[in-house]
C-alpha cells in the first residue's frame, strides 16, 4: 500500500540522531511489548490473523509518524488480537478476562495463516539470472508489498538469485495467498542516478531484494 512506511527517498525528516550508550529497551514496557509480540504469534495459527507488516502499515500515517517504534508494535499486536477474536475490547480495558470467557485453544497451522518467511524447498525455474537487465514493474497494490515505491518503473541489473521464497505480499485485507506463491527473489542493483536523477551519486547504487513478480525484462 502506498503509505508512510514506504519512506525511501523522502525529504523533511531532519537529521539522523544517534544516542550514545543507547539501551536495548528505553522503558520496561518496550521490552514487554517486544516479548509479548513474539510470544503471542503462535496463537495466530489457523486464525484470521493479519500480517505483521500489513497491520503496522495500516496505522494512519499521521499517527504512524507520531508514535514511537514500540507504540506501533503495541498497536499492531492489540489489533491482531482483536481482529482474531483472541481478546475483547473489555478485556483490554479491564486487564481481566471476560466473565465466562473460554480459554483459547492453540490451533494447527492453516494455509491462510501467516507462516514464517522461510526459504522454500521448491524447485522452480528462474526467470532471470545474474547480469540480466530488468525493470521493476509499476505496481501499486492495496495490500502489503516489499517492492518499495522508489524502484517502480526503474531499470536495474540482477546481481544474484537468492533462491525461492514465499511471497510476502497480502491482499487488501492483510491476508497472504494460501498457495504462498513460491518464486525466486533477486538482488537487483539500481544505479543511484537511475533512481534519483541528478541528485543521485555518480558512482553509487542501491541494491534491492525483489520477488520475481515485481520484475519484468528491461
Amino acid at each position: 500500500m502506498n503509505t508512510i512506511h514506504d519512506m525511501g527517498g523522502m525529504d523533511g525528516f531532519g537529521p539522523v540522531e544517534p544516542e550514545e550508550n543507547e539501551p536495548v529497551f528505553h522503558h520496561r514496557w518496550e521490552g514487554r511489548v517486544y516479548a509479548l509480540t513474539r510470544a503471542v504469534g503462535r496463537w495466530g495459527r489457523g486464525r484470521d490473523w493479519p500480517s505483521f507488516r500489513f497491520t503496522l502499515e495500516s496505522i494512519p500515517p499521521v499517527e504512524y509518524l507520531s508514535m514511537s517504534y514500540y507504540e506501533r508494535w503495541l498497536r499492531m499486536m492489540t489489533t491482531r488480537l482483536l481482529v482474531s477474536g483472541l481478546i475483547s475490547e473489555t478485556e483490554l480495558e479491564t486487564g481481566y478476562p471476560d466473565p465466562g470467557a473460554l480459554r483459547p485453544e492453540l490451533l494447527p497451522a492453516s494455509n491462510t495463516g501467516t507462516p514464517g518467511a522461510e526459504l522454500l524447498d521448491v524447485d522452480l525455474p528462474a526467470r532471470f539470472g545474474p547480469n540480466d537487465r530488468v525493470r521493476a514493474r509499476n505496481l501499486h497494490p492495496r495490500g502489503h508489498t516489499r517492492q518499495p515505491r522508489y524502484v517502480r518503473g526503474r531499470g536495474g541489473t540482477v546481481v544474484e538469485d537468492h533462491g525461492v521464497y514465499a511471497l510476502q505480499d497480502t491482499d487488501e485485507d492483510g491476508r497472504r495467498p494460501s498457495d504462498r506463491r513460491p518464486q525466486h527473489v533477486y538482488s537487483v542493483r539500481f544505479e543511484s542516478r537511475e533512481l534519483w536523477g541528478e541528485r543521485g551519486g555518480a558512482r553509487d547504487a542501491v541494491y534491492v531484494d525483489l520477488w520475481e513478480d515485481y520484475l519484468e525484462p528491461a
Binding site: 525528516f13 522503558h27 509479548l36 479491564t94 537468492h162 547504487a205 542501491v206 531484494d209
Partner: protein, 255 residues
C-alpha cells in the same frame, strides 16, 4: 477465498476500527491498585535519558501491563517466558556476535572467503543464525567500495549477529535518506566517504539480512582475534562507521 465474500463486515474496515479501539483503550482502573505498579512505574520514568522522540503517553506502561495480565490469565503467555525473551536481547544477543564473525574473517582468509560466498553457512559455523537472521549476506568494504545497510520499509536488521536495532536505524530520517543521500547521512554521522569510493546501499526488503564486513584498520597486525573482536563496533557492521584502531577511542562499546 470464497469465505470472505459473504462477510457482513468489510475486513479492512474492521482492522482499521480495531486499530482505533486498540489505540483508545484506556488505562485500567483496577489494575493500578492491586499490583506492584508503583515500582515499575517509577522504573519506567527513572531511566533519565529520554529524548523528545521517545516521549510516549504516560499510561502506555499501564496499558501494556493490562495486556500482559489478561494474556497471562487467559493462559496465552507466561511471564517468565517473556522475561527470558527480554533478557536474551538485553544481555545475550548483540553486536558482540557480529564482531566475532568480523574478527574471524580478518584473521582467517579461508573463513573470509566462505563468509563472502555464503554468509548464512559461514555465520552458521559460529552459531549465529536465528530469527531475523536465517539468511545472511555479508558485504565487504574495500578501498573502492563502501557498503551501507538500511530497511526503508520497516526496520529489518540481523538480530542474531547485531541484536535489536538502535532507534536511529528505525527512525524516519535514516530510512528516508540512506537511499537517496547516503553520503550526507554518513557525513553527519562522522564518516566522510571519498568521492572516488562507490557507495552501495543495501535495502533489506526481502528475507535476506545484511552484515557489513568492515575494513581491518592499519596497525592491528599484532592483535589477536579476541582483541580484534573488541574493536569492531556495531555501527561499522551497519556501515555508518569505520573500525578505528584501539588507540583512537574506547574499545568495543555500544556503537
Amino acid at each position: 477465498m470464497d469465505e470472505s465474500e459473504g462477510r457482513p463486515v468489510d475486513r479492512r474496515g474492521f482492522i482499521r476500527d480495531a486499530a482505533v479501539g486498540a489505540a483508545a483503550f484506556a488505562a485500567p482502573g483496577k489494575l493500578m491498585a492491586d499490583q506492584t505498579e508503583s515500582h515499575d512505574h517509577a522504573r519506567d520514568h527513572g531511566h533519565g535519558h529520554d529524548h523528545d522522540h521517545q516521549e510516549v503517553p504516560a499510561d502506555v506502561a499501564l496499558r501494556v501491563r493490562a495486556l500482559e495480565s489478561v494474556l497471562v490469565e487467559k493462559g496465552m503467555v507466561d511471564s517468565a517466558a517473556l522475561d527470558e525473551i527480554v533478557d536474551t536481547y538485553e544481555n545475550r544477543i548483540g553486536p558482540r556476535n557480529g564482531a566475532e564473525v568480523v574478527a574471524r574473517a580478518w584473521v582467517d582468509s579461508a573463513y573470509r572467503d566462505r563468509l563472502l560466498a555464503d554468509g548464512t553457512a559461514a555465520i552458521g559455523e559460529l552459531g549465529y543464525l536465528g530469527g531475523q537472521g536465517e539468511h545472511m549476506k555479508v558485504v565487504e568494504n574495500t578501498p573502492e567500495v563502501h557498503n551501507l545497510v538500511v530497511c526503508t520499509l520497516c526496520s529489518c536488521y540481523p538480530w542474531p549477529t547485531l541484536g535489536l536495532p538502535p532507534v536511529w536505524y528505525k527512525s524516519a530520517p535514516f530510512r528516508a535518506r540512506a537511499v537517496i543521500e547516503p553520503r550526507a547521512v554518513l557525513s553527519e554521522l562522522g564518516l566522510d566517504v571519498p568521492e572516488d569510493v562507490e557507495i552501495r546501499v543495501w535495502d533489506s526488503t526481502a528475507e535476506v539480512r545484511y552484515l557489513v564486513l568492515p575494513e581491518r584498520p592499519a596497525g592491528t597486525e599484532d592483535m589477536t582475534e579476541e582483541e580484534l573482536a573488541q574493536i569492531v563496533s556495531r555501527d561499522s557492521m551497519i556501515g555508518v562507521a569505520r573500525v578505528e584502531p584501539p588507540s583512537e577511542g574506547p574499545a568495543g562499546g555500544g556503537r
